[in-house]
Symmetry: D2
Subunit: 364 residues, 4 copies
């Protein structure tokens, strides 16, 4: 288990899908920040199950409570414990899965790693594990917004084989993203995506997708080469989200097919600083932010839990057919949007704190 | 700067392209291992510049010396310091670049982050920084091989738009990979790739590519959810390699386009354990190794330093044309192969140690 | 803030004296352990305020709740969140102290460090902060007991100038310790200590003391030289307890006055292993446990909060007289006993896990 | 092994007594600092063996070389590798000790922990291991001096039963300390100490002592409660020095014997800030520096390696008499002075960087 993340803004998450509560402890939050539950709830609402017909039918209000670390609505600089109760659990739905590990889910590997596993709900491999991350990410994002005007916006750019038109990373807003239930700003593509997801939910199948993310107004100089280059920590953070299979920064895999003469981003003067005319670097050069928008793409596989019958074997190795019960998302990407944003915020804020320490003791 | 990596097998690398030496300190190496310079040199030779006409003309023998941590050819369990001298430096080649930051390189971001930068050779953003990683990775790989028969093989699967036939991840060997200078086991594709790289070297341009990697015989149970899932640490490790732009595990971005019913890997019985009939999971489920081969793909951009003239601006914001001198790789992927293997070894060994600690205190 | 401790068994504590709850998240607990609240409550009861006439009059039941990480009374290997509600708060008692920092307390330094501080109750510098540590320590101690029969016993060896007879570190038990309210096994000294504390409580003064601790049955080989030598981590852990001023291992300061010929512990054969005839080393040599009992002494200062009037200055630098209200301990050592035991358990278990990882991959 | 220390200014030391070289890699050094070998050599010279008739006869010049991380005498912000060659080794002296573990030394515990140990010279448990620490500490101290005028002075305050007069912690300087070979500023006591050590060297015995240390001009606000309180990290750092048995901050064990009314440090106004009239707190309150001098005392045991014959048993458990050869210090405290100063510098600088990060993002 490693449920800790960050060096100076450090989060420790906890909770399974079917225990009393899930949450997070944030250590190293800057003091004096105005912070109430409302600052955190908005992103939890975008993540919560049952928010639309496109997601699982599990109903959880996911109301967050601040247990410690604030007084009179201000952070004290001490650990902030955030907690969300688990309420709508149906452990009975998991009866069959006690003996038959779900293909491509974590039942088998958890059992082998720990010699035990939560008997229902996916335990720590459930999407509920991400609540702590989203809550902590909301705090990080608020700090970044107030101190540096950093804006983090993620959206769905593809579902299955349905691709959307490229969004404008300079202008896209959460409002545009939330204009459709599927959270794709290309409304035409969104309609198709929603139709596909609705159809798959009916038949008990699932589908993958891609979430894109832009982080704007990141100060120049963030990222800690060599093992904690900014893209390296972003990659770790994103691949720590359940169901992720791929990560791209800037030009990504497409960039690997190009010539240097076509791929390089020439420098230009912008508002008294150097900027780049193009942004195939995705806002990071040499592992360090260059002031341009940081652009990411994250691939999500189709959810493993489907109700279509699957031929597989049980833990004992005997042939079996599994048709999962339980309430599951046919496609995770709309709910993954705030999770991606949270992870981005956690990485950027931690790197900002580390760079501020360096700047304070720099010799000139 | 964060030149540390790993929790129990922890490496600390050091060195710029034009300082006295580069190297690494390994903390936490298991004691009693037979280890001499020869165990490390082989992978450094596959990484070193000047090894073929396809790479930079800088000539470095890159002979490693063990300074500490062994006695009579056995590790003591104490820190192992490994050092490689820098010899063939040509700081004069970097004259122009003092004033003009190379587009898409790290000159600008290092200057902004640190307020100073190495005046030549790329400093810590040079590929020479990876020597410490490759040396430490060779030690890690030896331990993994001897204790668990883990095999790690990386190869070039595309260069620019030239794709190779898929390799067989169950059987591919370093010998097959090294059969061509470009390190692509598909000999037909390799010829085309080598011709392309040779042409680009002549004209002073560069090209990107993709390195694939398989890690076989990984014990079931490695990976530390949730923030240090196995794929998350692999993603961090790979994106910490210079010039990387993307990472895929298993089905990767292609998996995001599939249905769950087609993507899930059904369980089957294999040699008294559960295996999977297919491996779209890429050997990892729920962040934990499942015993199947771990399959990765890493995208590398075209090297930023090219001798073709580029229109850009200098540090002062004045328009300038840069035609880089210096000796640079037209394509990094052949030399990236041992670096990818090293990073994989560092991640797997650290996770193995952590899981062994858990297993030792497991309650049944 | 650094409320994290441990590498493999990692705890993250949270909570101020006057917030909703205090607690801890334990990351890395071995799976399969039988664990219920009762396993934890016993040590919290020994720590809680109001347990006897010798301590503060604040009344808190300090009932612990396990929020996550267990199912059917067994640990899952996932993070265990433990929580204790704050109930009996009297913020009004702290009115005067808003303007006048208590001499030798943390009011001034917290205000200067964070630019803000909890307006009442000492915030994170309150003894309530130790609840999370004690709760986590109880879990660690249970694992150590079940796996290695490790026994950890702390006791009060002096209060003010009242010294007790040396206890027998081979046999002393918690039962003997708890036979007196002051937790000193020398009953004669205990009576004097209790009388002193009672008198000081009446007059509004306070007094310091020393807690001794023995850790028996520690496996040979624990401790991670050089910066995490076993005594170094124990020293850190103990000096992280509020009000501590000194730490000794084995012969301590008295040992600094001796000759080597008199101080060295000769080896002897014991039950098929090497032991030592004497134990001035305190169970640790070269930073590594040698199998003998580990013996520690920790100095606690007199509590800073006293109701006797003190001439001091307020935050503005104006002369002032402070006579603290609130309910405070006249002497912390009886309640410090379980805290010292908890810290010892956290250090030993983390080191055990790390050594088990090494042993698993040792080459012979 | 844990040869890493520090969060933002992180050192990784390496080297045994009889390998090729010892040294350190510093990660996170602020960029732009003027730094040459001369800045580091002075403290190594105060630490090196053979510096006076009071120490071991082993002769090592201990010349440091900077391998990386600087250019033109300025730090680049990249890892700084520092190396000192081992030269005067006499492995033959260790013949007897192959079979007989030295009482109270690390031979037995290293063998048990690692299953192997350096066959001569104490390996990593030798005092040579501290070279890396002293070198890194010199860099840290230079930064602290230039940025905050922090002054760190350690001295010998007792040797065996010979106590010195209390030094004035406000004024004591390294020059005063170095006025005597034993490094005790009380010249009368120093003469007695030197006579004692000389006598013990002749007869082949050893003696312990106490090193005191003051750290002046530490900014208010350093220290990271709760597990990394300033005194907790100082305690860890000091107990990580070989041969240490005890640690005191401020009033130490003597403080445990006092009443709160006598122990508390009243606040007074000093130069526009709050100071304290007395300093029993030792410059730290609630784990955080309060701007007063930080005062420490560290107990060192008598060196374990003595040439007087000792009755003990060999590794096989057979009775044996050991009369150690080799060249060893009869008393470590004079050479421990720069090591204590180095450890103090490493702790303070790391804490300063962490607090600077907090201050930069503080909300007001």
């Amino acid at each position: 288990m490693s449920s800790n993340f960050g060096t100076l803004f450090r989060v420790s998450t906890f909770g399974e899908s079917h225990c009393k509560a899930v949450g997070v402890v944030i250590d190293g939050c800057p003091p004096g920040l105005a912070l109430t539950e409302a600052d955190i709830q908005a992103q939890l609402d975008r993540r919560r199950p049952g928010q639309s017909a496109l997601s699982t039918d599990r109903q959880e209000a996911d109301q967050v409570v601040i247990l410690s670390g604030t007084e009179n609505g201000r952070t004290l600089g001490t650990p902030i414990a955030l907690q969300v109760a688990n309420k709508d659990q149906r452990p009975k739905d998991y009866g069959d899965m006690r003996d038959i590990p779900r293909p491509s889910h974590a039942d088998y590997t958890y059992q082998m790693k720990y010699g035990i596993r939560a008997s229902s709900g996916g335990g720590r491999a459930s999407a509920r594990e991400t609540i702590g991350t989203v809550a902590a990410g909301a705090v990080a994002a608020k700090i970044l917004k107030e101190k540096c005007n950093v804006e983090i916006v993620a959206w769905v750019s593809s579902v299955g084989e349905i691709d959307s038109q490229a969004a404008d990373s300079q202008t896209i807003s959460r409002k545009e993203v939330d204009a459709t239930l599927i959270r794709c700003p290309d409304q035409e593509a969104a309609l198709k995506m929603e139709a596909l997801v609705t159809d798959l939910k009916k038949v008990g199948d699932s589908v993958g997708g891609v979430v894109s993310c832009v982080i704007r107004n990141v100060p120049v100089g963030l990222g800690e080469p060599t093992f904690e280059k900014l893209e390296a920590k972003l990659a770790q953070a994103m691949l720590a989200i359940p169901a992720t299979k791929g990560f791209e920064i800037g030009s990504g895999f497409a960039g690997s097919r190009m010539r240097g003469s076509a791929h390089n981003d020439p420098f230009v003067q912008k508002d008294g600083r150097l900027g780049t005319a193009t942004n195939r670097s995705g806002g990071i050069q040499g592992g360090i932010s260059n002031g341009e928008p940081i652009t990411l793409r994250i691939a999500f596989k189709p959810p493993a839990t489907i109700s279509l019958p699957q031929e597989t074997v049980d833990f004992a190795g005997q042939e079996a057919v599994l048709a999962a019960k339980g309430r599951h998302d046919p496609c995770v990407v709309p709910r993954a949007v705030p999770i991606v944003e949270a992870m981005a915020a956690l990485v950027i804020l931690d790197m900002l704190l580390r760079q501020e320490a360096r700047k304070a003791l720099l010799f000139r």
